[in-house]
């Protein structure tokens, strides 16, 4: 099992650092690229967790679509690429850091308290569980109504976005 652990830690550290990069970077484009690292890391973690389909969806939609969307957003708002240190942050930076660290501490305490000793056991069945066939079946059988609702939502969002961004 140690291979998984090693892989997990490498990816986890990379994700954590990149996450800090997202929220601390002084350059908007760099932040977006850090975000790509985090998202890719997540995809890798999904693969570790044998959720193959979700992993690829993550890569395609998140990295492929959403990040591109972000870059467009950056371009359109003509945000300056680089800012002097701290310009991108507001005045409650310190308080925010305290609150986030505090929250992280609280969450960690909770998690350790609640899930101490629970293990993720990997087996061959799991590979099947995360396969596209299995997931697809689940979506279109059990969760078909939510699926439709989400589709509607997406459509509405699309229309809404167009409506909002129109120049008149």
């Amino acid at each position: 099992m140690w291979e998984q652990e090693v892989a997990f830690w490498i990816i986890a550290v990379a994700m954590a650092l990149a996450a800090i990069g997202v929220v601390r970077s002084d350059n908007v484009v760099h932040a977006a690229l850090y975000l790509v690292v985090v998202l890719a890391g997540s995809a890798a973690q999904y693969i570790l967790l044998l959720a193959e389909f979700v992993a690829w969806v993550q890569v395609l939609i998140y990295i492929g679509a959403i990040v591109v969307l972000f870059l467009f957003g950056i371009m359109l708002t003509r945000a300056p690429m680089r800012e002097e240190s701290g310009k991108l942050d507001n005045d409650q930076r310190l308080a925010s850091a305290v609150v986030s660290l505090f929250l992280f501490g609280v969450l960690t305490v909770f998690l350790v308290d609640a899930f101490q000793g629970d293990e993720v056991k990997f087996s061959d069945d799991l590979v099947k569980l995360g396969s596209s066939a299995n997931v697809g079946e689940s979506i279109f059988r059990e969760y078909v109504i939510p699926f439709e609702v989400v589709s509607m939502l997406l459509l509405a969002a699309l229309v809404g976005a167009v409506a909002l961004a129109r120049k008149d």
Binding site: Q92, A95, V99, V106
Partner: protein
């Protein structure tokens, strides 16, 4: 009188109030009240002493040949604790306040140590009172000065007679206050008030130790009563760990009050006060309060520091270090009072070291003799500044005062010789007692430290005497002998410095000091009473004499050399020749560099530098650091973080002066911050409640 000894401090307290409220209207501006009161106290103290001695001698008589028989065996008598009859201290008290479980008693205690201290304090205080009439004549705050002296005597006597630690603590703090008032007597000048502040704060730092120590001892022995505590400390059920902590804490108090190494820096600064005050408070009485505490609670230290085991302990080490540091520093001072101040530090180091090496009797005895000769020296210095140098204490402005001030000179000389420990002056006997105990009690290292210290003492005092009284007068005034109000106390003290040591002089079969004053009820039984060691005495005296000789040689020679030096320089200007003289000059330089350097040169200077920059720097730095830390805490922490957080939330509110509705800043992120913080807090609270 033994039962009513509390009257003595009461007289002084009443005198304080009288002087404060009525002193100004009296012809002598209050001095007469003070002198009458202290005179009465002195008489009462003498009566107490006589009664106590009667009691002791009576008990000895009743026991039959108990004591004298043993004395006949020679000098190997073991302690009075085993041989002589145990005389219980006279303790009186009434409940001051009570608190459910515990009663706090205020009361008096009379035993040998107390009697001795009463005598010393009232005597020196009386002399200082008299002396001050001349010295402080025409002072801006003459009345206040006398009031403060009275208050000081009252608190010091209260400290001395206290039967319990709480009362001792009260007296202890009060003498600190008086010291503050008197050091800062001329508070118009900032250096004086600085010195006063420094003295108060440094001793108060030590008082933290006293407070903690008293509390620890209280909970260990379940009482504030000194007898109970001492009994507890020597009993088998004593908790060694607690006693150890208590000893360390109390040691801290001793270091603060008695100017021991690294809390000593306030004492030289305290010389900013009037000279009689320096004599009374900063030489003879208040500063020995720390040593008195050590003597008083000796069993606690005995057990806490395991003194009976020999070798090393904190008390002896600190005392020893203080001896050397103080003596070395005394070499480089130009201010005569500073020389004496460092000498006091060094001598207090002797007493503390004596306690550390198990020489209870030596410490008490040295306290006794030191009070006389050091007071004599200080008052002598005061006499000089009063009548010769116009309130300057700079030895560079003195010199050659032997002729115009014969009484001052002779008394000062006697004080010096006593301090240097030359036979048969007072200092010799007490110093020898300490050294002999250290030698015979497995503390040889400290014996050597003591010997070195004695030699250094002799040398720097020679320098001091030389600079002051010999050579040519270098000042710009007209030196003349002081008035009788000043010289009489000097003579009294000089006589005492001469003879006080004889009451405990083994070769003459006199052991009165031990007989009378070691009766304090419950000293450790294993304590060593040393045999008189002629060899050791000879070594110490010859070392001191040698040091005096060396120093005298050096200084008297320098006078000659000064002439030569001048010649050299002249000739260098004229001929650029006279190699012989020049060579001699180099030799002298070498001589000075090699021999004297070990004491006077780099070492003394380095230690002085270390003292002024490192230790004093640390002490001052702690003060400044505290202030700076305060500023930082206030500016950054209080105003920015704590208050800032509050203000951030309330700023719009408060500034707009409106109602609560304005708490809405309209900024989403602020809301989000509060939301998340609350979520975290509530989550944590729920969690704590669940596990609690």
């Amino acid at each position: 009188m033994l039962d009513n000894v509390w009257i003595i401090p009461l007289i002084m307290a009443v005198s304080y109030l009288l002087i404060l409220f009525f002193g100004r209207r009296l012809p002598k501006k209050g001095a007469e009240i003070g002198i009458v009161a202290i005179g009465a106290s002195f008489i009462l103290a003498c009566i107490t002493a006589v009664q106590w001695i009667d009691k002791v001698e009576g008990a000895v008589g009743k026991e039959g040949g108990g004591h004298s028989g043993l004395a006949a065996l020679g000098h190997s008598v073991v302690a009075a604790a085993t041989g002589a009859p145990e005389i219980e201290p006279v303790v009186n008290g009434f409940t001051w306040w009570q608190n459910n479980r515990v009663e706090f008693v205020v009361g008096s205690r009379v035993d040998g140590l107390v009697v001795m201290m009463l005598f010393v304090v009232t005597l020196i205080s009386l002399l200082v009172h008299v002396y001050s009439t001349a010295y402080m004549h025409e002072d801006r705050r003459f009345t206040h000065y006398y009031a403060a002296l009275s208050l000081f005597s009252a608190s010091m006597l209260l400290l001395v007679i206290s039967a319990n630690l709480l009362q001792l603590l009260v007296g202890w703090e009060l003498v600190g206050l008086c010291s503050f008032m008197l050091i800062g007597h001329w508070w118009e000048e900032k250096p004086n008030s600085d010195a006063a502040l420094k003295a108060f704060l440094t001793t108060r730092t030590g008082d933290v130790g006293l407070m903690c120590g008293v509390i620890i001892v209280f909970f260990a022995a379940n009482s504030f009563d000194i007898s109970v505590i001492n009994e507890y400390a020597l009993s088998p059920e004593a908790n060694h760990g607690l006693l150890q902590w208590a000893s360390i804490a109390l040691m801290f108090a001793i270091m603060g009050k008695s100017g021991q190494f690294f809390l000593h820096t306030w004492l030289p600064d305290a010389m900013a006060g009037p000279t009689p005050v320096s004599a009374l408070i900063h030489a003879a009485t208040m500063v020995v309060a720390g040593v008195y505490l050590g003597l008083r609670l000796y069993p606690v230290f005995w057990e806490g520091f395991s003194i009976h085991a020999g070798g090393m302990n904190m008390m002896a080490i600190i005392g020893g270090v203080t001896i050397l540091i103080g003596a070395a520093l005394a070499f480089v001072q130009n201010d005569i009072k500073k020389v004496l101040a460092y000498s006091t530090i060094s001598q207090l180091g002797y007493m503390v070291m004596a306690l550390g090496v198990g020489a209870w009797l030596g410490a008490a005895f040295h306290l006794f003799t030191h009070a006389f000769f050091k007071a004599c020296l200080f008052l002598g210095a005061g006499s000089i500044s009063h009548s010769a140098t116009h309130h300057s204490f700079d030895m560079r402005e003195m010199g050659g005062l032997r002729k115009p001030m014969p009484i001052t000179f002779w008394t000062f000389l006697i004080g010096t010789v006593a301090l240097a420990g030359i036979f048969p002056f007072a200092g010799f006997w007490s110093k020898d007692e300490i050294l002999a105990t250290a030698d015979q009690g497995d503390f040889q290292v400290f014996m050597i430290v003591g010997l070195v210290g004695a030699a250094m003492t002799a040398a720097y005092m020679t320098r001091c005497v030389y600079l002051t009284f010999f050579g040519k007068y270098r000042g710009h005034h007209h030196p003349h002998e002081s008035t009788p109000a000043i010289t009489v106390p000097l003579v009294v003290l000089a006589v005492l410095s001469l003879v006080a040591g004889l009451i405990q002089s083994a070769p003459f079969e006199i052991k009165k000091f031990q007989e009378w004053f070691e009766q304090v009820g419950g000293l450790p039984e294993e304590m060593i009473v040393p045999k008189f060691d002629y060899g050791l005495a000879a070594i110490s005296v010859s070392l001191a004499t040698l040091a005096i000789g060396f120093a005298a040689f050096f200084f008297f020679r320098r006078e000659e050399r000064g002439a030569l030096k001048g010649l050299t320089e002249r000739n260098k200007l004229a001929h650029a020749g006279y190699r012989f003289l020049e060579k001699k000059y180099y030799l002298d330089d070498l001589y000075e560099g090699v021999i004297v350097s070990s004491v006077k040169g780099p070492i003394a200077r380095a230690s002085y530098w270390f003292n002024m920059h490192v230790i004093d720097g640390v002490v001052n730095g702690v003060g400044r650091g505290a202030a700076r830390l305060g500023r930082w805490t206030y500016d950054v922490f209080d105003q920015d973080l704590v208050d800032g957080a509050v203000n951030d939330i309330g700023r719009e509110t408060a500034m707009a002066g409106g109602g609560m509705t304005k708490l809405q800043s309209g900024r989403l992120q602020r809301y989000a911050l509060l939301l998340l913080a609350s979520v975290g807090i509530i989550g944590l609270a729920v969690y704590i409640v669940n596990i609690a």
